[in-house]
């Protein structure tokens, strides 16, 4: 279909909104409340264009044959500018960070807004949760967080309340986020165009530890960080920065830089063996993965029957496994007292911040930083990230496999587990170790594999709305992986802003590139893993392994 835009003909797709069509044709219409993949709600009234002498919002208008659109008239510009001006006073008063990653800050420049004629009026108390914080004084009521929480995460932790300019985002009955069924996934942070929702920073604490000469400060980085950290330093999405990341963290003053991928390999050994034991005993099935703390909290709130029915694996998440290995195995080898070690995890995720405060976990990870915080830390030390020479992880806990690497993307945990479960279970080599049916962005992916004559059915879901779907037919499967965030950890709530599907696709490609590049690609072939079992844990699921690497869950209300 053809329409006319600013007196030029362009070809458009009638199933896509004008906003997206124009974007495809290189015309960017400023917008705030629309987020790719969500239903347009058309609240912000910024994405205006003129059709037939009327102003319409392009995010929820679809092309029609013969349409004539004007995107640059005086009227359009004035209206966009005034609506942006109306949003500014509240936000401007409290926003200290003029952040290039925040859509609003970008838009006011484009619109040429130089003066705001109104005074701020909002007076909300900020909700300072343990991992996710919200400041309604900064909020511009775009509704993206509410939509993401409901449509993508099916958690409904927040919604709008109040009317007119008293309308504001809140958990039900004005509770704090900590007191409601919020899973701390941070997807609302990723959605927010103005930074009104953010992670609870732990930078000051980490800086203090780095200064303290009596402390041995160790950092570990999650599988997905190397695929996204570059974006914070203006490198194109999908650039693998493993070597630079390690070099930069060393320059920040960390005594050791370890690889959470090794923790992932350990998880696979434990979880894979757990699965093989269940296969031998004929159940209980399905076994469900527990690497994602967002999913764990979701399960504890909404699906806690899975705890009694023993469907949940008992494995700790990879960085918690590595955390405790650092404070036991590594401490002993390096002859450092446990209490002098500080473990910092760089994670894609605010749920990991929450996880490290869980009482039953008695976490050995002291601080969790998101990808964004790690970038802030690196900037704090004025490190020229882009021009760093590649370095390697510290060898003590620094060798990992492609299996650990793919943990960063949805389907990765399953793929890694199947590589090991098949080879350990059958004693045979896989002819092809890539599980193509587990790769890609589909919300739910399924497949089967034969291990020792038994047909094993597996399924993978990302995004908790999809998880809800999968749970309806969970009994059809033997093994299920769930990741809370869209695309898995590469789409986590702690990743570089702003959110865009395109970036997640590129990060995913980078993850699989890392897998293909590594000489070892199966967890059970990792020499350090073998060494840890030989010298320290005996064998997977041994008594000691159980004590250190496994955990339990609680039933939570709504």
């Amino acid at each position: 279909m053809r329409i006319r835009v600013d007196n030029k003909n362009i070809e458009v797709d009638s199933n896509k909104s004008l906003l997206l069509n124009l974007k495809d044709n290189g015309i960017n219409i400023p917008h705030l409340c629309y987020q790719e993949g969500l239903e347009p709600e058309a609240r912000c009234r910024i994405c205006l264009v003129e059709i037939n002498n009327k102003l319409v919002t392009s995010c929820n208008t679809y092309p029609k044959e013969g349409m004539e659109i004007k995107t640059k008239t005086k009227r359009v510009n004035r209206a966009r500018k005034i609506n942006a001006e109306l949003l500014m006073p509240e936000h401007m008063d409290k926003c200290f960070r003029l952040n290039k990653h925040h859509d609003l800050c970008n838009i006011i420049g484009d619109l040429g807004l130089k003066e705001v004629r109104f005074n701020p009026t909002r007076k909300y108390t900020a909700d300072l949760g343990a991992s996710v914080i919200r400041d309604n004084n900064l909020c511009i009521n775009c509704g993206r967080c509410v939509q993401v929480c409901a449509q993508v995460q099916a958690t409904w932790a927040i919604d709008f309340a109040g009317r007119a300019h008293h309308e504001h985002v809140t958990p039900y009955f004005e509770h704090d986020l900590n007191d409601v069924a919020c899973i701390k996934c941070g997807q609302c942070i990723a959605a927010c165009p103005v930074g009104a929702i953010d992670e609870r920073e732990h930078l000051q604490e980490v800086l203090a530890a780095l200064k303290d000469k009596t402390k041995h400060v160790v950092v570990q980085t999650a599988p997905s960080i190397r695929a996204s950290l570059g974006e914070e330093f203006d490198m194109p999405p999908g650039t693998l920065v493993t070597g630079k990341m390690i070099a930069a963290l060393r320059r920040c003053g960390f005594n050791k830089v370890f690889d959470t991928n090794l923790g992932a390999d350990m998880t696979i050994m434990e979880e894979g063996t757990e699965f093989l034991t269940r296969a031998k005993n004929n159940g209980p099935f399905p076994m469900i993965t527990t690497c994602c703390p967002g999913w764990i909290k979701f399960m504890e709130h909404f699906y806690h029957d899975l705890i009694d029915s023993n469907n949940m694996s008992t494995c700790k998440s990879p960085h918690e496994m590595l955390g405790i290995l650092i404070k036991t195995y590594y401490a002993k080898k390096a002859k450092i007292s446990k209490k002098d070690i500080v473990v910092v995890s760089v994670m894609p995720c605010t749920a990991k911040k929450f996880e490290s405060t869980r009482p039953e976990m008695k976490s050995d990870v002291d601080y969790v930083l998101t990808t964004r915080e790690a970038a802030k830390l690196i900037n704090h030390f004025n490190i020229d990230f882009k021009n760093l020479k590649d370095e390697e992880f510290d060898p003590a806990l620094g060798i990992s496999t492609g299996a650990g690497a793919v943990f960063g993307a949805t389907g990765g945990v399953m793929e890694a587990a199947l590589r090991t479960a098949y080879e350990v279970g059958t004693g045979k080599q896989l002819t092809k170790i890539e599980f193509d049916q587990l790769r890609g962005m589909d919300g739910i992916k399924t497949g089967t594999i034969i291990i020792k004559g038994k047909e094993i059915k597996f399924a993978v879901a990302n995004g908790l709305a999809n998880a809800r779907e999968l749970m309806k037919r969970k009994d059809d499967y033997h093994f299920i992986e769930i990741m809370a965030c869209p695309g898995g950890c590469i789409g986590g709530g702690g990743q570089p802003l702003p959110f865009a599907w395109e970036k997640i696709h590129k990060r995913m490609a980078a993850i699989y590139k890392e897998d293909a590049r590594l000489p070892l690609r199966k967890s059970h072939e990792n020499p350090i893993v073998q060494k840890i079992y030989k010298e320290f844990l005996d064998k997977p699921l041994s008594k000691k392994a159980h004590k250190l690497l496994h955990t339990h869950y609680y039933k939570r209300g709504l």
């Binding site: 709600e41 058309a42 205006l48 007119a164």
Partner: protein, 372 residues
């Protein structure tokens, strides 16, 4: 008054005899236009719902009369509720709805019991609103009945295609439905008779039934004003115009003057009152009633009120009038739903016809400060 006539179920019986299609056609022939404000032909609306293949359909009687100065639906529901119930039954039959809802304005709750008694066994449920003006908007009514926050929905899909619970739904106003039995039963039913809610600076406010085309000043005379009337407001959303001998009560005559004829609401303002104060009052109403969904209405109505309060009581200058004008225009052009889009009509028309009053007020305040 035509609206006080009764049909005692005979209209319903006649409709049943005619069948669905013929009833719809009869309503079309008689040109019954919606009385909620938009004036959409009722028969056509019914036909759209009737033609939808979906089996489940709904009828909603909109009794959420929230427009300031409008009280004709209340008048009908008090004086002749039987007629409304019969209208609902006929509409349900015509479009094929098994269930109907009466969405009753929160402040009219006292009418609920009386209506319930009249409904008897018919499948009509009364939902009492919580007092939000926005819920007079068709789509916000749907959200509200479904138990959600009263905010307008995106159109399309239109309610006739996907309305309540996603099913085809006809939404008719009380006055419209009351006229249905009359139109069907009485050969001499006059489609041009309208109910006018008259209020403001008159000594005899109330409901007047007059034909379209009546001179506005004749209606005002019926209200017996004490002083000379200078401005007429057509409800809040309709905007205002100077009172003039020639104006007739027809959509064309009034809409041509950038006011909206709407639901027959006439508020008279006399010489003793300042338009600036009226505007501030109305702005207060919108600042309170905006649902909060979209930027221009949520933030804009609040800024308009602040500016007006500044002009009328404190310290403004002429520049503020421009800001006011600009804001009012953008709110009208870009708001999400009818509430926002019409929320500044009163101000835009006031600024057009009575700008002097605003300018004078600004000067007055300035002088007063100088004296102090």
């Amino acid at each position: 008054m035509q609206i006080k006539k009764q049909t005692k179920g005979k209209a319903l019986a006649k409709a049943k005899k005619l069948g669905q299609k013929a009833t719809i056609n009869l309503i079309k022939e008689k040109v019954l236009l919606g009385r909620g404000g938009a004036g959409f032909p009722t028969g056509t609306k019914w036909e759209m719902v009737y033609n939808e293949p979906e089996k489940e359909k709904y009828l909603i009687c909109n009794a959420d009369e929230g427009e300031p100065g409008t009280f004709k639906d209340k008048f009908i529901l008090e004086k002749n509720p039987e007629l409304v119930i019969e209208g609902i039954k006929i509409a349900m039959f015509a479009i094929g709805a098994k269930k109907a809802f009466i969405y009753l304005r929160g402040e009219y709750e006292y009418l609920e019991n009386r209506l319930k008694k009249l409904i008897k066994k018919a499948n009509i449920e009364i939902v009492v609103g919580a007092g939000a003006y926005i819920c007079g908007d068709e789509t916000a009514i749907l959200e509200s009945i479904e138990g959600k926050r009263g905010q307008a929905r995106l159109k399309p899909p239109f309610p006739t295609v996907k309305g309540l619970y996603g099913k085809p739904t006809a939404i008719n106003n009380v006055e419209t439905l009351a006229n249905v039995p009359l139109a069907i039963y009485y050969k001499d039913w006059n489609p041009n008779l309208r109910l006018y809610s008259l209020s403001g600076n008159v000594t005899k406010p109330g409901i007047y039934e007059l034909p379209l085309g009546t001179k506005l000043c004749d209606l005002i005379k019926l209200g017996k004003p004490k002083n000379k009337i200078k401005a007429i407001y057509f409800g809040c959303f309709g905007g205002c115009m100077p009172h003039c001998e020639k104006t007739k009560l027809t959509p064309d005559d009034i809409c041509g003057k950038d006011c909206i004829h709407g639901a027959g609401t006439i508020i008279a303002v006399d010489e003793k009152h300042s338009i600036v104060d009226v505007a501030t009052n109305i702005a207060k109403f919108y600042e309170f009633e905006s649902c909060g969904k979209c930027t221009p209405c949520r933030e804009g109505t609040m800024r308009i009120l602040a500016l007006l309060e500044n002009i009328s009581l404190k310290n403004a200058d002429m520049k503020d009038l421009n800001t006011l004008q600009e804001l009012a225009e953008v709110i009208k052009e870009t708001s999400f739903c009818g509430l926002g889009q019409t929320s500044t009509n009163h101000l835009l028309t006031a600024l057009k016809y009575f700008r002097k009053e605003f300018e004078e007020r600004i000067k007055e305040q300035k002088d007063r400060r100088r004296i102090r």
